[in-house]
Symmetry: none
Subunit: 255 residues, 2 copies
């Protein structure tokens, strides 16, 4: 692979971050770093790992311990996702709150397309329990790695390896074409969270939401708006509508 | 995946054997078994492994130790390849002995096509040194797994995982799909039009919309909600919110 081509592939992959949540075994963190580096990924984020740093992580990282050195530790998932415009969650178990599902290859393609505009996060959950419902609600898509229905227990590092491999293939496939920038740029997670907070408060103000049981409805709305992938303009419109709604309701209460 | 489909995939993969030559670390043999089973491969052959059997192999195999039980041990590569009509060798280092080279995806396709006629062997060499020239001469093709030119050191189990994954994808015959969540069925255009009419009226009621120039904003909102593809449940929620908003605003006007 020519040097210029390699540099371009590296650039496309630079904005894709791997986020491990609450990992139990430090060896899996090291193996993840190795799986990433061998495919050209470099941005590792750890949300409250159980035991880290640890010699086992360094051992399993092999020549990829530079990725471990640069790995960012976070106290919350929110922190780890800051600035990400696309969030993909990997999960073996398809839960009761269904999200649009992409297989690994398609997900990699989606990630590469969007990495031109904003950071992309790939979430991996706990070894045994995967991602919680709350964590999945932060995702735009779930990623399914096809596996043996009789034994589908992919180790975290193996799942990372497969995704990293698909990402590299996708990046190489893009290496000699230029994608026209689309006119649509979805906002990042911070903007979305502010929208959801504003939405929740507004729904309380107009007495649509039962303050003791808000979660299910909010989860549905969250899913709807995540599917819509609003851009900044649309966010501004939606928040303008919410504000006008709050004003109308408040005026009602003051009189 | 339906049972009949799963059985067909399993059948296609049954004639593909993974051959590990002279493996140094028993843990890699266990991890290989796991990587194989999770993708539906089952035929493992070991040519003079350094240390085997070993507790480390069983530990890393996790729930795939049945593959270890059934693994065949050989004194020579010739024995391990008996009956194989196609032999693919994986090697990070491309040696001086030129062989036709396939990337992992194409190699998997080739293996699947030929597995209908005869056994196929996938060779993996030693951790440090890969395959010898003599061993490569037994191969019809070399397989290259694309990797970071600056750090291409794929662990054996990781290489097996990627090949097994590509084989499964090839066996399944489909790779590039997006699955809508099973309970999600977008409403038809009649429902959407009613939503937009209700939305427009509500925006007028809360004085958010300029009645003389509503079109541009409504067009933006229409685009947003069309992108979201709401189902009936979500339509009901949205219209419930609109109604509650109208009630809150009307109450304001009556007092």
């Amino acid at each position: 692979m020519a040097a210029a081509e390699a540099a371009e592939v590296a650039q496309r992959l630079a904005r894709i971050r791997v986020v491990l949540i609450n990992t139990t075994h430090p060896g899996n963190i090291g193996a993840t770093a190795r799986a990433m580096k061998v495919m050209g990924l470099s941005s590792l984020h750890l949300v409250t790992p159980k035991i880290y740093p640890h010699a086992e992580a360094t051992a399993r990282a092999s020549g990829a311990d530079d990725l471990l050195q640069r790995a960012q530790l976070h106290e919350s998932l929110e922190s780890a996702l800051a600035g990400c415009g696309l969030v993909l969650g990997t999960s073996a178990r398809l839960r009761t709150l269904p999200l649009p599902l992409l297989d690994a290859r398609r997900a990699a393609g989606q990630a590469l397309v969007e990495s031109a505009q904003h950071e992309v996060a790939l979430l991996f959950g706990r070894e045994r329990y995967g991602l919680t419902n709350e964590e999945m609600q932060r995702c735009h898509f779930l990623v399914n790695i096809p596996s043996n229905p009789e034994y589908s227990s992919l180790n975290i590092a193996q799942a990372v390896q497969i995704m990293a491999y698909e990402l590299r293939i996708a990046a190489q496939g893009f290496a000699d074409i230029e994608l026209a920038p689309p006119d649509w740029q979805p906002v990042d997670d911070v903007q979305m969270e502010r929208l959801f907070e504003h939405l929740e408060q507004t729904l309380l103000d107009i007495r649509f939401l039962n303050p003791r049981q808000p979660k299910r409805l909010l989860a549905r709305l969250r899913r709807l708006f995540n599917r819509a992938r609003p851009d900044q303009n649309e966010i501004n419109i939606l928040r303008g509508i919410l504000k006008a709604t709050q004003d109308a309701a408040r005026h009602s209460e003051e009189t």
